[in-house]
Amino acid sequence: MSLYLSVAIIVLIFVVIFQIAKASEYVSILKGEEASRQQNNKINGFLMVAFLVLGFVGIYVCNKAYYGKTQMAQGAASIQGQKVDEMLFVTLIITGIVFVITQVLLFWFAYKYQEDKNRKVFFFAHSTKLELIWTAIPAIALTVLVVFGLRNWFFFTGEPPKNAMVVEVTGKQFGWIFRYSGKDAIFGKKYYKNIDPATNSVGIIWDDKYAQDDILTEQTMYVVKGTPVKLIIGSRDVIHDVGLTHFRLKMDAVPGIPTTMWFTPIYTTKEMREKTGNPNFAYEISCDQMCGNGHYSMKGVIEVVDQEEYDLWMAKQKPQYFTAFPEKDPSAVPVAKADSTTKATTAKM
């Protein structure tokens, strides 16, 4: 009912506007083309300046209302992020100056040079000097931005420090799987045809001697504050993207082609909760590449903790090998029977 009502109201408004517009056309014919053009010029010229002024007021209001809700206000949570923020501000200042100058000139000229019978138009077809000026100035400004940008780019995409911990991230429709290399610090080989959603979600080759201490977790990844983390990123099905808003980085997860990214977190999750005043704060991993109907819900979490807490957490993790082959788990030996089966399987392998 309310739908029909609102449709009726909209139609009515349309009819009214349309009739007024038609009437104004008759009026302008009566007035003569010249006179009505002058009137239109006056109105629109005024609106040009009004739009300019209101536009800047609008920008101010918008900034006041929403700046506090952006990441900029919160501050970056990684050293990479701090560099990104720094660069954002430099870029904002340079482009901001250009924005203000050009928009003011545009709308001001439109207002100032609206038709006037007495003005003689300035026949000004070209000026090599002026054109050189506005070729050179943007070129110089851009050189600054490019140099600044590329230094950061090569830092972000370069090799992480030697002490970096390595975590493998695998995207799937619609969630994240994390693999730690375990005590030997080497990941076991994997092959996608070995994938078994229940026990081997990334397709580890169990025969590989490095594979048996690998640890798998889902949805939540633990990393240590102050220690560089290198992510080796892959996907099981379609393209996903590891989006780390708070660390200001992202990298695609492509099936068949591993990618990497590294960052150094500088605040623990707890510290961030205090810093933002939000008790529910979490370092969320958002999927930033369209991956299907559940794309919007493909969430992971990074827990940034200190070394001590990390060690405690790690100690509780069980290698995935023992989930795949529970009978080989040394902590489940007490029963004698289990022991003999383990031997048998090992012999076969």
Binding site: F14, I17, F18, A21, E25, I29, N40, G45, F51, Y66, K69, T70, Q71, M72, G81, V84, T91, T95, V98, F99, T102, L106, F109, A110, Y113, E115, V121, F122, F123, F124, A125, H126, S127, L130, E131, W134, P138, L142, L145, V146, G149, W153, F154, K172, I195, D237, V238, G243, T245, L249, K250, M251, V254, P255, G256, A282, C291, N293, H295, K299
Partner: protein, 601 residues
């Protein structure tokens, strides 16, 4: 005045001078299978408008979901059926709407609707030709577009839904039937529609190039062409060189989808299906092929708007366009660079960092010709005598939007910032302003300016003013705040943000944006009413040259027939921008250079 005299003269001569192809036009040959470039232009325009309404309506629907994620609208269920169970749009439907909105607006509206309309309409009229080099291919170009439209439309009615993997159609999502319901037969229809579209755009493009190069009237040297024609020329060259690459990418995709090849597929395990046998392909290959078209496509959309804005701005400032050769040079530079920057869409795909740095450099280089264009437009206004016709307003609006959206391109083109902002709402804001709304403004400017030539009547001025002011204010209100959402890292293509601690703070802003989007859409309907009403009932054009413009299209009769000029095609003696020269308000191109005239540009 000589023009009035010429008008009467032509009318007196009647129809005989149409020459060899005066024949009995039936309804079918005049309005449907027409080979007259002006009629084909109108066909492109109106088909484009139909798509613009559909695409716009889709955006209103998905904005409804983003603005009111918890509300339920029973009437939605009665329109969309199972796609809006309980009055709430489903994620499948949401993604289908977003995808179709993108595809349709980029290709069907801003490519076919924009270049298709104005290249067809303006090229022969402004260069002084009776028609296109091949009117028949031109007709085919439209009918391929029409067929593509029908196939795309039919994909909306497939049981598993239209394609829903984003307009960029990245495999493996688009290649695997089981990865998403939208990747089933909806995707096959999508590819077929795109393939037909590519054929249409190639037939059109080849025709435009051939016509501009070979069929200029006497005296119309290349440097006397209006900037509109130059822009349409570069647009056509871009299209002809890049669309085939998209077609090849699509063909490989069809093979991967249906014939078991592995061009884009490797190491895939699909939930519920298991491991696929495809190995050795590269999903990134498709992105290279796609963006090799995809980036030039941005300029295919933007250049015609730039060309028309240059022309309209000069006419209504009563002043020559500033720096004709610089405008031309910057168009050329943009056209070249358009082919060398595609991988800036792929900074976060694991691209080689060195390669990335090359693309940063080349991408930011585009800012230089863009800056030249902006400053030249500003100087064109400076000390002019501006008439605010609705066309002129939209041209000024275009420049404003091009500045705003172009500057954020400097942020995104810098890989070290893109690594943060990529695929966030910042990108949505950027490309909607600079490519979507700005080109739309160019198109509106063109429609308002050349409507009198198309239909022999004027559009209603007051409605034009209302249309302009609400649209530009609305466009900024919709897209400006999205930059803030992007700076909060809010990813695009999310159906619902309420489960995200990092992004849910914008619920109120999303509602605001959705409301403004609906108002802006309603105002576009007002434009449509104005358009169709004015075709039949608008104020009649009574003078040959209502905008007092220099270009050749205004030397034709008010309602030109097939063949454009009843008599001889006029000879050109000067460039098209002699406004305010030697105390004359304007000197049309077909007026011989006087003995006492000062040297031109």
């Amino acid at each position: 005045m000589s023009h009035e005299a010429a008008l009467h003269n032509h009318e007196g001569q009647g129809h005989d001078d149409h020459g060899h192809h005066e024949h009995h036009d039936t309804f079918l040959t005049k309005y449907v299978f027409s080979q007259d470039h002006k009629m084909i232009a109108k066909q492109f325009l109106i088909t484009g408008m139909v798509w613009a309404v559909l695409g716009g309506l889709m955006s209103v629907l998905f904005r409804l979901q983003l603005g009111y994620p918890d509300a339920s609208f029973p009437w939605l269920e009665s329109i969309l059926g199972k796609w809006a169970k309980g009055g709430q749009i489903t994620p499948e439907a949401y993604y289908a709407l977003v995808t179709t909105h993108g595809t349709v607006l980029v290709f069907f509206v801003l490519t076919a609707g924009l270049s298709g309309t104005f290249a067809n309409f303006l090229i022969p009229l402004q260069i002084g030709a009776r028609d296109m080099a091949s009117p028949f291919l031109n007709m085919l170009s439209y009918w391929f577009f029409f067929t593509a439209s029908i196939v795309m439309l039919s994909s909306l009615f497939v049981e598993t839904g239209p394609f829903s993997g984003g307009w960029t159609a990245y495999p493996p999502l688009s290649a695997l039937h089981d990865a998403s319901p939208g990747s089933k037969s909806g995707m096959d229809l999508w590819i077929i529609a795109m393939a037909l579209f590519v054929v249409s755009s190639l037939l059109g493009g080849l025709n435009y190039i051939a016509t501009i190069l070979n069929m200029r009237t006497k005296g119309m040297s290349m440097t006397r062409l209006p900037l509109t024609i130059w822009a349409l020329f570069f647009t056509a060259v871009l299209g002809v060189l890049s669309f085939p690459v998209l077609l090849s990418g699509m063909i490989l995709l069809i093979f991967d989808r249906n014939f078991g090849t592995s061009f884009y597929l490797s190491d895939i395990y699909v939930n519920g299906v298991g491991a696929l046998s495809n190995e050795g392909g590269s999903a990134i290959l498709f992105q290279h092929l796609f963006w090799f078209l995809g980036h030039p496509e941005v300029y295919i959309i933007l250049l015609p708007a730039m060309g028309m804005v240059s022309e309209i701005m000069s006419v209504n400032s009563r002043k020559p366009i500033f720096g004709y050769m610089a405008m031309l040079g910057s168009l050329f530079a943009i056209a070249i660079l358009a082919f060398l920057v595609w991988a800036h869409h792929m900074f976060v795909t694991g691209l080689n960092p060195f390669l990335g740095s090359v693309f940063v450099l080349l991408t930011l280089l585009i800012a230089v010709p863009s800056a030249i264009k902006v400053f030249n437009w500003l100087t064109t206004l400076w000390r002019g005598n501006i008439r605010f016709t609705p066309g002129m307003l939209f041209a000024i609006g275009f420049v404003s939007l091009f500045i705003s959206g172009g500057l954020t391109g400097i942020w995104l083109g810098n890989a070290a910032l893109d690594i943060y902002l990529h695929d966030s709402y910042f990108v949505v804001a950027h490309f909607h302003i600079v490519m979507g709304v700005a080109s739309m403004f160019g198109m509106f400017a063109g429609v308002y300016h050349w409507f009198p030539k198309m239909y022999g009547r004027y559009l209603n001025n007051s409605l034009g003013y209302i249309h302009f002011w609400i649209t530009i204010a609305g466009a900024y209100m919709i897209f400006w705040p999205m930059h803030y959402q992007g700076l909060a890292g809010m990813p695009r293509r999310y159906f619902d943000f309420s489960i995200w601690e990092s992004f849910k703070q914008f619920a109120e802003l999303n509602r605001f944006i959705s409301t403004v989007a609906m108002i802006v859409f309603a105002v576009q309907i007002l434009f449509l009413i104005n358009f169709f009403y004015s075709i039949f009932k608008g104020r009649k054009v009574t003078v040959l040259n209502p905008w007092e413009s220099n270009t050749l299209e205004w030397t034709t009769p008010i309602r030109p027939g097939h063949g454009n000029w009843p008599g001889e095609i006029p000879e050109v003696h000067r460039w098209p921008y002699d406004y305010g020269k030697d105390g004359h308000d304007f000197i049309p191109q077909d007026v011989p250079v006087g003995a006492d005239e000062t040297d031109t540009h």
